[in-house]
């Protein structure tokens, strides 16, 4: 499962030589990934440069997020509200300082954050250019760029809507330009009134835990209410303390990585897989002090058994991760009915049946989380995967429709759409096709199972309350299906 070019690129001499020889070989950047559980200050010692547009309404949340996460904030341009920056700087010992213009030699930014929430006309977009243009070359390896914006559908004028929507195109392109350095860019659209839900997402996006998420728009809303609309203090360390999480397909790959990461944040994880995977599943469960649930998700009695088990042995469940899935690839003409039926049933129908059992009986607690696994194939389609892509596209529709029905109980429903992930599954793909899959992305490499796990943990955490009914791609910015 090793990526030869990535390994080669880790050798500075080889890297230099290939560059000097001008070989047309992509040298993907080894992505910085966090070790250990969530930290109080994931951005410690990082340099974060912040710019704002006119009437920037979100800068206070940016100030708070950066200082609390341990980053050193640098301000460029005009429009910063001094009072908003002073208090968090003082409280956390991270005073915001003006960044000299031109940018001092050797200054490297780990994060570039722009508050574009107040941009109203296409002319205002110049502020975006003015901020990023001199700094994009100063973005450190594996750096982050985040633009904060308002949803264009809620804009007061067509011009304002155009301006806000333009930011998505900007960010998607920027992500492609900086991807070779392992850096990523995102835009976060924030509903009026949902500002308080921004810090947790911003903290996640700026951290090393979003390493393989690139070029994505996020929408933060108050849709999923909790505690009557006022959010309590979001925990930034051990966010899943005292929570029970169910992970299906936990014996290996993405499921096992996710189970481990959930457990590392304090969750008691119920690891579910087929009875024939008892060996590896028990090993994972033992490692993380979790529980084992041997169950074929597509069995007719599975929903009831799972619901009963969770209710009786664990007092219900807080986080449900529908990771179990299969591929039964064949071009449509050659595909047997069995292949079709199995894939649709396991990947889609079983998910719906299990959720029904868990929500009807209130086994899933209020404020809970449902995280489904979709796929980039479900967005873009894939040769030989009519069945798989149908099931994964079905997940998208399902998540979008289920979310509003559970929002009143504070439950969020989201899907993660992995791109090329280095697993047993993808390792079996013929080498040329595999190479194409890996390289045709912003980051020029495949992701690791833990990259998906990191995103699932965020979506499972209390801080993700603002995201529901969303499909988040963890694909390294795959060129397909964008």
């Amino acid at each position: 499962m090793s990526d030869f070019l990535l390994e080669l690129g880790k050798n500075p001499n080889a890297r230099k030589m290939i560059k000097q020889l001008g070989l047309p070989v992509p040298m993907p950047q080894d992505l910085a990934r966090a070790g250990g559980p969530w930290e109080e200050r994931p951005l410690a010692e990082q340099q974060a440069v912040v710019g704002v547009g006119p009437n920037a309404a979100l800068q206070g949340y940016v100030a708070e997020t950066l200082a609390r996460a341990g980053a050193d904030p640098w301000l460029v341009g005009e429009g910063h509200d001094g009072a908003l920056w002073k208090a968090p700087g003082e409280a956390y010992g991270r005073p915001a300082k003006p960044l000299a213009s031109p940018v001092p030699d050797r200054f490297l930014a780990n994060a570039l954050v722009f508050d574009g929430s107040g941009l109203e006309s296409p002319a205002d977009l110049k502020r975006v250019y003015e901020f990023f243009h001199p700094l994009v070359g100063r973005l450190a390896r594996c750096g982050r760029a985040v633009v904060l914006a308002r949803p264009h559908r809620a804009a007061e004028s067509p011009a304002a809507a155009a301006t806000q929507r333009a930011l998505e195109g900007f960010v998607r392109s920027l992500a492609k330009e900086i991807g070779r350095r392992g850096a990523t860019a995102h835009v976060v659209y924030v509903d009026e009134g949902a500002e308080g839900r921004v810090p947790a997402l911003l903290r996640y996006l700026l951290s090393e835990r979003s390493a393989f998420v690139s070029g994505q728009p996020f929408h933060v809303t108050m849709e999923a209410a909790k505690g009557g609309g006022t959010d309590e203090e979001v925990p930034y360390t051990r966010p899943l303390e005292k929570k029970v999480a169910l992970v299906t397909g936990a014996a290996r790959g993405i499921g096992a990585a996710t189970a481990r990461l959930l457990a590392a944040e304090g969750a008691h994880v119920v690891c579910l897989d087929r009875p024939q995977d008892d060996g590896p599943l028990s090993q994972v469960a033992r490692e993380i002090d979790g529980a084992v649930l041997l169950q074929d998700v597509s069995a007719p009695d599975a929903p009831e058994r799972i619901a009963n088990e969770l209710r009786e042995k664990h007092g219900g469940v807080d986080v449900v991760v529908h990771n179990a899935g299969v591929t039964r690839d064949k071009t449509l003409a050659k595909m047997s009915e069995e292949r079709w039926g199995q894939t649709i049933d396991i990947n889609l129908a079983a998910v719906i049946r299990i959720d029904e059992a868990l929500t009807d009986g209130r086994v899933l607690h209020d404020g809970g989380r449902i995280v489904c696994l979709s796929s980039v194939a479900g967005i873009a389609g894939n040769m030989g995967q009519t069945n798989y892509a149908a099931s994964k596209a079905g997940i998208i529709g399902y998540v979008e429709a289920l979310a509003p029905t559970l929002a009143g109980r504070g439950i969020t429903v989201n899907a993660v759409a992995p791109g090329f992930i280095e697993t047993r599954l993808t390792n079996a793909i013929p080498v040329m096709i595999r190479e194409v899959g890996r390289r045709l992305s912003n980051l020029g490499q495949g992701g690791l199972p833990r990259d998906i796990g990191d995103l699932v943990v965020f979506l499972a955490s209390p801080g993700s309350q603002g995201l529901t009914g969303r499909i988040v791609r963890a694909c390294g910015g795959a060129f397909i299906g964008a």
Binding site: E40, R41, A44, R68, G70, K86, A87, P88, G89, E90, A91, Y92, G93, R94, P95
Partner: protein, 431 residues
């Protein structure tokens, strides 16, 4: 904490050795010898009946590897009755205060009536250790008969050479590797404390300490150390009466190239000891002593060493005030250990910040500004010196005397310590 009917421990008095520059006049006195000197002089000055002493609690940071229970060694060397039990505590630079509050606890629980508490450290006598790799490699030679093969085996394990050379001891955090001065440098940057302000603070510390020496104010607290060769060390030798902001401005930063911390605005490596005599209030009265002070409260806290290592007092001091049922404005005196001028000034900024109070202390108002006239009235560790284990006991001694001297009610103490620890305490006058 001083409710009616509750046993109260009182500070009867305290004595310290002169605080002397490391590798100087006290080179030949190790931490045990320094402790002996302080405790011996304390017993002599207060004419304590040795049979009345219940125990000794001693604080130390650089403990002797072969005799880490320094307190007991002091008892035995001074030929105190064998019944005087002793233990040794270590809480980095708060060790001295820890020893005192532990002794107070014992008295207030009713476990003891007369206790001696204090601390000592001799930076000059820090042990240089063989790397563990050498120790482990040598084990076959040390236990049983070694064959030539064993010897060769040991030799082969001892390369490369740089891994087996003893390392110079340094005051660095074990978890982060950050040297204390670097941490303070970082705090100066994070809290925007300029060099001039640090130098001014340091000069004030020196001038105040020099004035205390000149006026004889320290005489009752400092007792000489007799060395084995017959020499006698009488006086503190780190305080500079003639220093000035201009002089300090000439010093080069030591912890960072473009830094602000210098030898002038940091506490120096120091040898010394301090001891405090504590009794239950009834016992003190029965024995005819006039108590000086008692503890109204104390607090020990921990913060993340990787954040702002020496910010502990900004959390511990407000907590101690809360426990004493007071506000900062109620404290007549404030005494803070000066590890670095930058660290004290950073903590003062935190105490004065409403934003800090809201996020770190969960309260809506700032703890408050500390009036410079009430802060470290006789200087602090930057001027006087800082034998790690002794500083807490020195501060308790000076403040206990000062409460009586000024006829005021309360003194707030604050100490920062390695490992992200902080200590705060409120002393009240007993009359």
């Amino acid at each position: 904490m001083s409710g009616i009917g509750k046993r109260r421990a009182v500070v009867v008095g305290g004595v310290r050795t002169p605080f002397v520059k490391a590798f100087g006049k006290l080179l030949k006195a190790d931490t045990i010898a320094l402790g002996e000197s302080a405790v011996g002089n304390l017993l002599q000055r207060f004419d304590v009946d040795r049979k009345e002493i219940d125990g000794v609690v001693w604080g130390g940071v650089i403990l002797p590897g072969l005799a880490p229970n320094v307190g007991r060694e002091i008892v035995l060397d001074l030929s105190l009755p064998h019944s005087v039990e002793a233990h040794t505590v270590t809480r980095a630079c708060a060790s001295g205060l820890q020893a005192v509050t532990s002794a107070v606890n014992e008295i207030e629980r009713g476990d003891a009536d007369v206790m001696i508490a204090g601390g000592s450290d001799s930076t000059s006598n820090a042990e240089i250790k063989l790397p563990q790799k050498v120790v482990h490699a040598m084990a076959p030679l040390a236990f049983g008969k070694a064959t030539p093969g064993d010897v060769l085996g040991v030799m082969s394990q001892l390369v490369p050479l740089n891994e087996i050379l003893p390392k110079r001891p340094k005051i660095a955090e074990r978890t982060t590797g950050q040297v204390m001065g670097e941490a303070a440098e970082e705090m100066a940057r994070r809290n925007e404390v300029p060099r001039t302000e640090q130098d001014e603070f340091a000069v004030r510390s020196h001038h105040r300490a020099a004035a205390a020496v000149r006026s004889g104010r320290f005489d009752r607290e400092v007792a000489p150390v007799d060395l084995p060769n017959g020499d006698r060390v009488h006086a503190d030798d780190l305080i500079r009466a003639d220093t000035s902001v201009e002089k300090l401005a000439r010093l080069r930063p030591v912890f960072a190239k473009d830094g602000t911390l210098t030898a002038g605005n940091s506490s120096p490596l120091t040898d010394g000891a301090a001891a405090v005599l504590l009794m239950s209030e009834e016992k003190a009265k029965a024995l005819g002593y006039t108590p000086l002070a008692a503890f109204r409260s104390w607090s020990y806290v921990g913060v993340d060493p990787a954040d702002q290592l020496l910010m502990g007092p900004a959390i511990a001091m407000p907590q101690a005030l809360d426990r004493a049922g007071m506000t900062l404005a109620d404290a007549d005196l404030v005494d803070m250990h000066e590890a670095f001028a930058a660290q004290v000034l950073s903590v003062l900024r935190m105490l004065a910040s409403r934003a800090f109070a809201e996020t770190r202390l969960g309260r809506s108002e700032a703890v408050g500004e500390v009036d410079p006239a009430r802060l470290n009235v006789h200087g602090g560790s930057v001027a006087i010196g800082h034998p790690f284990g002794a500083t807490g006991a020195r501060m308790v001694t000076t403040m206990a005397h000062e409460l009586a001297e000024r006829d005021v009610e309360t003194a707030l103490l604050g100490i920062c310590a390695a490992g992200g620890l902080g200590a705060g305490a409120v002393l009240e006058r007993v009359s």
